[in-house]
């Protein structure tokens, strides 16, 4: 097999270490609260409260409650909140949490030597931003907009900074201004794989020497009336409205769909030299990230991506403590993912699917799910998968359920994919002095 990477990462002088973690999630914010909730098995998917979901076929989501960006944002930056939709607020505060956790402040790192890779989406418009304009532009027969009325009377009602509230690259932009980050800045958008490929790019950036420290984050606020109207029209969402906590059932025979979530996760990734020099707390090491496409979601493509990641990391399947699956709880999605995992690992490696606890965070999903494995390796304990009770012959994997178990091997593999077969695999390793 062809080497996937020219350099041997284990001896590379610029090993890439995770030294800070920021989490905003339906089960708790900050690494400590998040970890406690993971161990306790706290469920985060409930009936939607952010708006009245009466019309939605699926009325459940993982919501972040009691979140106040105003209370949390850097004071000097508070006035810019009027240009941030909820996705962006989550992202910016997530970055702040990660920087604080890593013990980094503005200009602790020289501005040219720190960069940011963020996973995001184009936000859905806040309804009230376009409501008044829409009222003025509606045709007399209420069938739709009169374009002449929109242009003359509606458009002036739209807030001047409207567009900036929703642009995907704004979390990275705001974080760069707050922390004076002048190194590489990019925003990844391929849905549920965006966070993983953002991490992969950050690894390449550190290895090529274009920065010493990177913020790597992702956020999305899917619990939004327009977004959920759209998703309910084409995504497989669970109809188990009577039992929200049990709605998402990864790899379970009774699974009937997923549920959306919201929040953010952000890491600080830095070179080993840099981390050691500043005596940073190290959570773990990113060994490799691979991406590729499984056209038609059949399984062999995902397996190839996993093998590429393992080869690139220079580890064997026997070094892997657990596979952290996307585990959406959809009929086809879980079967596909299980086939890919089984082709590489058989049933020998436990599969952990954390998403049933907080829902699918979309652009925030791969990194918040990765955070679960980073914390598991760090603390030496693997939390269990919630809501997996009946194995499904279509999902030939061993799902870790029940009580938390002791971590026995040094590495973990995190998987992500989109409905069009874009796949990503991240390999991390426990850090030992």
């Amino acid at each position: 097999m062809r080497p996937n990477r020219i350099t041997d990462v284990t001896t590379h002088s610029r090993r890439t270490m995770l030294t800070g973690l920021g989490v905003i999630s339906p089960i708790g914010s900050g690494p400590a609260a998040f970890w406690d909730a993971l161990l306790a098995g706290t469920p985060g998917v409930h009936t939607i409260t952010r708006f009245d979901p009466f019309a939605l076929p699926s009325k459940m989501a993982g919501e972040v409650r009691d979140f106040s960006a105003k209370a949390l944002i850097e004071k000097s930056y508070r006035r810019t909140l009027n240009a941030m939709a909820r996705t962006i607020e989550f992202g910016v505060i997530g970055c702040q949490f990660a920087m604080q956790d890593a013990g980094l402040a503005r200009r602790t790192v020289p501005p040219e030597r720190i960069g940011i890779e963020f996973a995001s989406v184009m936000g859905a418009t806040e309804l009230d931003d376009l409501g008044p304009a829409s009222v003025k532009a509606l045709k007399p027969d209420a069938s739709g907009p009169d374009m002449a009325a929109w242009g003359s009377a509606g458009l002036p009602e739209v807030p001047p900074l409207w567009m900036l509230k929703y642009l995907p690259n704004m979390p990275a932009c705001h974080a760069s201004v707050i922390y004076d980050i002048q190194g590489p800045s990019n925003t990844q958008i391929p849905g549920d794989t965006a966070g993983a490929v953002a991490l992969g790019e950050a690894v390449r950036i550190l290895r090529r020497g274009a920065a010493d420290v990177m913020i790597v984050g992702g956020s999305e606020a899917k619990v939004h009336p327009l977004s959920l109207s759209r998703f309910n029209l084409f995504s497989q969402f669970s109809r188990r409205n009577h039992d929200p906590e049990g709605a998402i059932r990864p790899f379970d025979r009774a699974r009937d769909g997923t549920a959306p979530g919201e929040g953010a996760a952000a890491f600080i990734l830095e070179t080993l030299d840099h981390a050691l020099t500043r005596k940073a707390k190290i959570y773990g090491e990113v060994l490799a990230v691979a991406s590729g496409v499984d056209r038609g979601l059949t399984g062999p493509g995902l397996a190839r991506v996993i093998r590429n990641a393992l080869a690139s990391a220079g580890i064997a399947a026997t070094d892997v403590d657990h596979v952290n699956a996307h585990g959406l709880g959809t009929t086809k999605g879980d079967a596909f993912e299980a086939r890919g995992i089984a082709e590489v690992f058989g049933k020998s490696v436990p599969v952990f699917a954390p998403l049933s606890r907080f829902g699918n965070l979309g652009a925030g999903s791969s990194l918040i799910e990765l955070a679960c494995s980073v914390l598991a390796l760090h603390h030496g304990k693997l939390p269990a998968t919630l809501n997996h009770t009946q194995p499904d012959p279509d999902c030939p994997v061993m799902v870790h359920t029940g009580q938390p178990q002791t971590v026995t091997r040094p590495c973990a593999v995190k998987l992500s994919y989109t409905e069009l077969g874009q796949c990503a695999a991240v390999v991390i390793r426990k850090w030992t002095e």
Binding site: A55, V135, G154, L164, L167, N186, G292, V293
Partner: protein, 430 residues
């Protein structure tokens, strides 16, 4: 030694033609496609014109185009440009080469909103006499008024996902959105993916259309667009003192980036070598560039260092040149900051004077123009240049194309959010 990366295929969909030859001919003839907006009735908007791709038909580019009729123009333009690029590179046949070593990196924009349904739903659910919209009732009607299959094709991962699916590009798959810098950034990072060995071929570039009601509304509210409604053809006037904003355009471009030995082994035509990439952030403001061009200067310097070149090696600069007050003066200052005295003699021009601003797709189309200019020894002009601006005092190749022989071209792209990208393409030699 570092793996070298060359360009072996190019494809475009632009307001000035959907072949590279047509596009370049229009550029050297100084033609423009700017005219009244036809996609929707924009007659009462502050800006009534744009640079549109006319008569686009995906069926002319791919088989079973009907399958993609629900997709937004972002996906459709990307599929069309990719088909030409892969055909040009002789890699269209899915049986050619190891497809798991060929990937996609797209700088792509959003899909289309269902604007009529959105306005209807918002108005319906608005509470009379208040500014508030009843979200529950809004959901209730939108579930009926939106089209599910169509909505399912508007996700941010859709364009890059379909490119991989249609053309069997099963390697690394990424998509970025850094506003007007996106496709250049996609190309720069795809270059690195090949250099480090994660792929041998990357189909990289971008695709975008913001010529829809909310796109024009958003830019108009930011007062970023030219409002020269009485003379659309002369509205895009980069570096001219009378400039008053950019002209919104649309389109796509994709280049086939290939590891040099891989390209040689299969006898590919090599258009140019991609030798330099620089990327920085301004860390200044949401929309305004840093007034001294701090980030722009460093990204051009980084690209030169990456290519192991001196400033005087660059024979032509394809500027970002948007025709906004802030960009053009700042970019000029930044070029002077990098090139010193030589800034006065190196030709600098803006493709946007003719094409308008293709937003996420701007950078790749301008790189394609730069590569053809490099090969043909002709530099396209900056048209609509009439009144010099004391803050813009470089040689902008005013109004008429010029024959210039050169070996290296630098192309700039800057985006909202303070994103700065510079790419350098060089004539290929062993």
């Amino acid at each position: 030694m570092r793996r070298r990366v060359v360009i072996t295929g190019m494809g475009v969909v632009t307001p000035l033609g959907s072949t590279v030859a047509e596009l370049f001919t229009s550029q050297i003839e100084g033609r423009t496609a700017v005219g009244p907006i036809t996609r929707f009735d924009a007659r009462t908007f502050p800006t009534t014109f744009a640079s549109e791709v006319k008569d686009f038909d995906l069926g002319k580019f791919i088989r079973n185009a009907e399958r993609y009729h629900n997709c937004g123009l972002n996906t459709q333009f990307a599929l069309a440009a990719a088909r030409h690029a892969l055909e040009d590179a002789n890699l269209l046949d899915a049986g050619k080469g190891d497809r798991s070593r060929m990937g996609v990196y797209l700088g792509s924009g959003e899909g289309s909103d269902e604007f009529p349904a959105l306005v209807r739903g918002l108005a319906h659910a608005s509470t009379p006499g208040s500014q508030a919209v009843n979200a529950g009732e809004f959901v209730n009607v939108m579930l009926k008024w939106m089209n599910g299959p169509r909505e399912s094709e508007q996700e941010m991962f859709t364009p890059a996902g379909h490119l991989a699916g249609v053309f069997a590009l099963e390697g690394p798959n990424q998509a970025c959105q850094t506003a007007c810098a996106a496709s250049s950034q996609a190309i720069g990072e795809a270059l690195d993916i090949i250099r480090v060995g994660e792929a041998d071929v990357m189909v990289a570039g971008g695709s975008h259309s913001m010529i829809h009601p909310l796109g024009v509304t958003g830019f108009n509210r930011l007062t970023a667009l030219s409002q020269r409604n009485e003379s659309p053809c002369t509205a895009s006037r980069p570096f001219d003192r009378e400039r008053d904003g950019f002209v919104i355009g649309e389109g796509a471009g994709l280049v086939v980036l290939e590891e040099l030995e891989h390209a040689k082994k299969r006898g590919a035509t090599i258009y140019a070598e991609l030798t330099g990439y620089g990327t920085t952030a301004d860390a200044y403001r949401m929309t305004d560039p840093h007034p001294q061009g701090r980030g722009a200067i460093r990204c051009m310097n980084d690209a030169l260092r990456d290519a192991s070149l001196k400033p005087t090696d660059i024979g032509y600069i394809n500027a970002h040149g948007t025709s906004t007050q802030a960009n053009d003066s700042t970019e000029t200052a930044a070029i002077k900051g990098v090139f010193g005295e030589y800034a006065k003699s190196v030709p600098v021009s803006s493709s946007k004077s003719m094409l308008g601003h293709l937003i996420a797709a701007a950078g790749v189309v301008e790189l394609v123009i730069s590569v053809v200019a490099l090969r043909r020894g002709i530099v396209p002009p900056t048209i609509n240049y009439g009144t010099p601006d004391p803050e813009c005092d470089l040689d902008y190749v005013p109004n008429v194309a010029r024959e210039v022989r050169f070996r290296h071209v630098l192309s700039n792209s800057f985006g909202f959010g303070g994103q700065n990208i510079a790419l350098i393409a060089s004539r290929f030699s062993e």
